[in-house]
Amino acid sequence: MNATLVRRLILMDLYLMRWPVAGSLLAGSVAIAMMPLGAVSSYVGSVCLICVLVILNIVLVMTFIVQEKKDKVQIFMLSLPVSTTQYTAAKLLANATAFAGCWVALTIAVVAVIDASALPNGTLPFLLAVLAYLLMYYCVLLAVGLASDSAGWHATVITIGNVSVNFLIPWLWSRPSIYQNRNSPFAVWSGDIVAVLAIEIAVAMAALGLALYVRSCRTDFV
């Protein structure tokens, strides 16, 4: 694979994604800054942070992958001396870099704020599991965006992804290891939290792998 070509495609996409990413970083930072200000603002800040990451997820995938396919930008790109593998790799890497960069920055900020503030460190595993879920949700949507042209599939994944967060949070919170340690000054990494994190990462990787496979089998792009 021609690394220069792929790098150029990635840089172009990152350039185009600069405003959504910058906006998300700003909004996410504000949300995190609200967390140590009190019980209500902690709740509001957490919800805002989740919303920021969900919106960024949908904007990145729907605008820079799905919409590009609809606008036939993909056909133009594939008519250039660019192979489908190079194009797919570039799209995946650019999109994932933009989201993951934002996600990592905001996650580090969350950890730093919890560690430095009066917020109990016992909530850290819970927050990380929720944030990892959002990363998994992004990977699944990215995979479906890359592999499928069906608006129905995109809408289904977005709906399930958005709704399922509402079930995940109370379910995670009710885990004994999280609930009992919520006010602990130390983060307790119990077996079920580690399992949840491992499943989230595995699903994310599997979704991306499957998308690349499906995409590699595709031969018609018009």
Partner: protein, 709 residues
């Protein structure tokens, strides 16, 4: 995929894979669990079930796959050089290595064997067992070179059958029926099932069949083994048949997942029946034997077709490394056995795990074998013998555009060679036929106008040339390679009919970015100048009008200084000045040697620019030739004049095809202009402004497409 002058990179790779897999097979043999001491030169002290499964799987298909490819290439050779050329070539490439190689390789193998057995049995050679079976009739220790002998035997059989076949089938109907049956079979996806049956029967009815080792290795007698003959003969004959319709390989390229699934399932069944560890005694006749024979034969062909499909799909392009390995693989296979076995003997008693010893044997032996090929064979008469050519000591790294083979003479001059071809291409969208067996080529330095009504297949043809679509059947070539080859597309410019560009970028940024994908692009200033897009340079693409967007798309198509330019209805939506600018740019590019494929609905555009015109309708090529040739298809002429005669009067005359009138002037389309002219002059003394002209491209196009409909 072509079978005429182009090298078949995918099949070269498959043949190399099968041969190198043989090296892996032999390298792992000493690690097979339960190996009886004395059966192989060395029984390693660290056996491995993993290697057992690996070797079992590899051994299922490697030789059948090799014989299939051999059959394919044999027919190609036969049809290139005739019977005499075929046998001369085979004598050099097969018979001579066998006759000259065996006397060297056999003693080397025997010496290593003696060394190995001596070590295995604690320093002394074991005595021959008292109940050792008598040598078979015609006993001869071929060693692993038996495949050369079998190739010669099978070539003889196939050519004899072919001669008999031709004598019976003088009208060719039997061949057509066979081809049709093979084509149908391949398209159904059931090839493996049908082709496995003769092998399965031959194995099942073989007495004393050591099932774990599949098709018996016929390395000990000059009298051919029936089961081996059927197994490998089926493969070679099937390869021969497939060469008659080489495009069927593309069907397997689409079916590879199906065949791979079948191969894995079949192999799993075989292992469950025969066990992971080898069994060195014959399988008892019964249901298990039948099930094993069926599963094993099915696995042979599922593996073979999956690998052929994968190679066709992913390795059809010229690749210097694969080419080198393919050339080296024949030499490596011929001489590998003493090297590999010597290494097995050397490490067989070391207190190391097989995960260290097996890779060590492979790496060291391949290093020795590749080095010997590089320095002793490739540039010598032996290389000439084995590879068909002697490579110079230093070979240019860059393959030429043509056939990807630096040593194969080009049979045509660059001017004569088509830059892009569609050969027998079919393409459907669901039930809609977009192209139905199109043959079309683009020649160097020409502008080929592709005309046709909406839905004729023009844009589909361009998409196929660009690799955006895959043909259901037939061959597509672009600049001597596959349309999927990025290297070929570096010399191609494209303006598609319906594309989007990144709306957030400015025109200058789009040109900069697009030009950066090409090796020798125009500067941005040159591109803007040639296409008249200078005033748009700093505007956002999203803010441009539809016509301006087309201008920018044209600029992007030419900014890479292409050798071949595809323009799909480029002037739709352009104003007159922009169209003139584009025509001027197109003429300049043709003058500089660029070839252009232009699809358009504006026939005056084709008439003004094209050297050649191809007319498509209903997915078929219904006319192709120069503009004059196409016009001459319509023998009609048009007479225009001012007359007092009415349209109705004229319409009734013989040879008048149509009449159209407007304000005292009539336009008469005629078949024989002289007779109609005489009658006009006789009927109307006051006739004025008389003009006769030949039918234009528009009339010809309408006539041709109407007839086709």
């Amino acid at each position: 995929m072509s079978t005429s002058t182009e090298r078949l990179h995918a099949l070269d790779a498959v043949r190399a894979f099968a041969l190198l897999l043989g090296v892996v097979f032999h390298a792992g043999f000493s690690f097979i669990p339960g190996l009886i001491p004395g059966l192989w030169a060395m029984t390693d002290n660290s056996p491995s079930s993993t290697i057992g499964v690996l070797l079992f799987t590899a051994h299922i298909f490697r030789m059948s796959l090799f014989f299939f490819v051999a059959g394919f290439f044999a027919r190609m050779l036969f049809h290139r050089g005739g019977a005499r050329g075929f046998w001369v070539n085979r004598s050099k490439r097969i018979l001579l290595p066998l006759v000259a190689g065996w006397p060297i390789i056999f003693p080397a193998v025997a010496a290593v064997w003696v060394w190995g057995l001596t070590r295995t049995f604690g320093g002394t050679l074991p005595a021959a067992p008292a109940n050792a079976p008598a040598p078979p009739p015609g006993a001869f220790p071929w060693t692993h070179l038996w495949f050369l002998y079998y190739l010669l035997v099978l070539y003889t059989i196939v050519l004899t059958v072919r001669a008999a076949w031709l004598a019976i089938d003088r009208g060719g109907w039997l061949r057509r029926a066979t081809d049709a049956s093979v084509r149908w079979l391949v398209h159904t996806g059931a090839t493996a099932v049908v082709i496995a049956l003769p092998v399965a029967l031959a194995l099942f009815f073989r007495r004393e069949w050591v099932a774990w080792f599949g098709i018996p290795t016929p390395d000990h007698s000059v009298i051919p083994e029936l089961a081996s003959l059927v197994g490998y003969g089926t493969a070679l004959s099937f390869g021969w048949l497939i060469h008659r319709q080489a495009d069927l390989l593309n069907v397997w390229a689409r079916q590879w997942t199906l065949h791979l699934a079948g191969a894995l399932a079949g192999t799993a069944v075989c292992l469950s029946l025969a066990g992971i560890a080898p069994v060195f005694v014959p399988i008892a006749t019964g249901g298990v034997k039948l099930a094993f024979a069926l599963a094993y034969s099915l696995s042979i062909w599922c593996w073979s077709l999956a690998i052929l499909g994968l190679a066709t799909r992913f390795l059809s392009h010229a690749n210097g490394t694969i080419r080198y390995v393919a050339d080296a693989s024949y030499w490596i296979y011929l001489v590998h056995l003493p090297v590999v076995v010597a290494l097995q003997v050397a490490v067989g008693r070391l207190p190391l795990h097989w995960t260290i010893k097996f890779p060590l044997i492979l790496v060291v032996s391949l290093a020795i074998l590749f080095t010997s090929y590089r320095y002793l064979i490739r540039s010598t008469f032996i290389g000439q013998l084995l590879n068909g050519r002697k490579y110079p000591r230093s070979v240019p790294r860059v393959l030429p555009q043509g056939n990807g083979d630096p040593h194969r003479p080009n049979l045509t001059t660059p001017e004569q060679r088509p830059l892009a071809t569609l050969s027998g291409v079919h393409k459907r969208y669901g039930k809609t036929v977009a192209l139905a067996g199109i043959d079309l080529e683009v020649r160097s330095g020409e502008l080929l106008a592709v005309l046709g009504p909406n839905g004729a297949g023009k844009s589909t043809a361009i998409s196929l040339w660009l690799g955006l679509l895959e043909p259901d059947d037939g061959k597509v070539h672009l600049l001597g390679g596959s349309p999927l080859d990025v290297e070929s597309r570096r010399h191609v410019g494209v303006m598609m009919q319906e594309v989007g560009l990144t709306p957030e970028l400015r025109v200058r940024e789009l040109i900069d970015l697009t030009a950066s994908y090409y090796p020798n692009p125009l500067t941005t200033a040159q591109t803007l100048d040639v296409t008249g897009t200078g005033p748009l340079a700093d505007r956002l693409y999203a803010k441009l009008s539809a016509g301006q967007k087309r201008q920018v798309q044209f600029a992007l198509a030419i900014c890479g200084r292409p050798r071949l330019l595809f323009l799909d209805e480029p002037t739709v939506g352009l104003d007159i000045e922009s169209r003139s600018t584009m025509w001027r740019a197109i003429r300049t590019m043709i003058g500089e040697g660029c070839s252009i494929v232009l699809t358009t609905h504006y026939l005056e555009e084709a008439e003004a620019l094209a050297n050649r015109v191809a007319v498509l309708a209903g997915g078929r090529l219904i006319a192709c030739g120069s503009v004059d040739q196409i016009r001459s298809v319509v023998s009609r002429k048009q007479i225009t004049c001012s007359t007092t005669l009415t349209e109705e009067q004229i319409r009734t005359w013989p040879d008048v095809v149509g009449v159209r009138g407007d304000a005292g002037r009539v336009e008469i389309t005629v078949v024989d202009s002289e007779d109609v002219l005489r009658r006009l002059l006789a009927s109307d003394q006051s006739i004025r402004d008389l003009e006769v002209r030949r039918a234009g491209l528009a009339e010809a196009f309408i006539e041709i497409t109407r007839e086709a409909a």
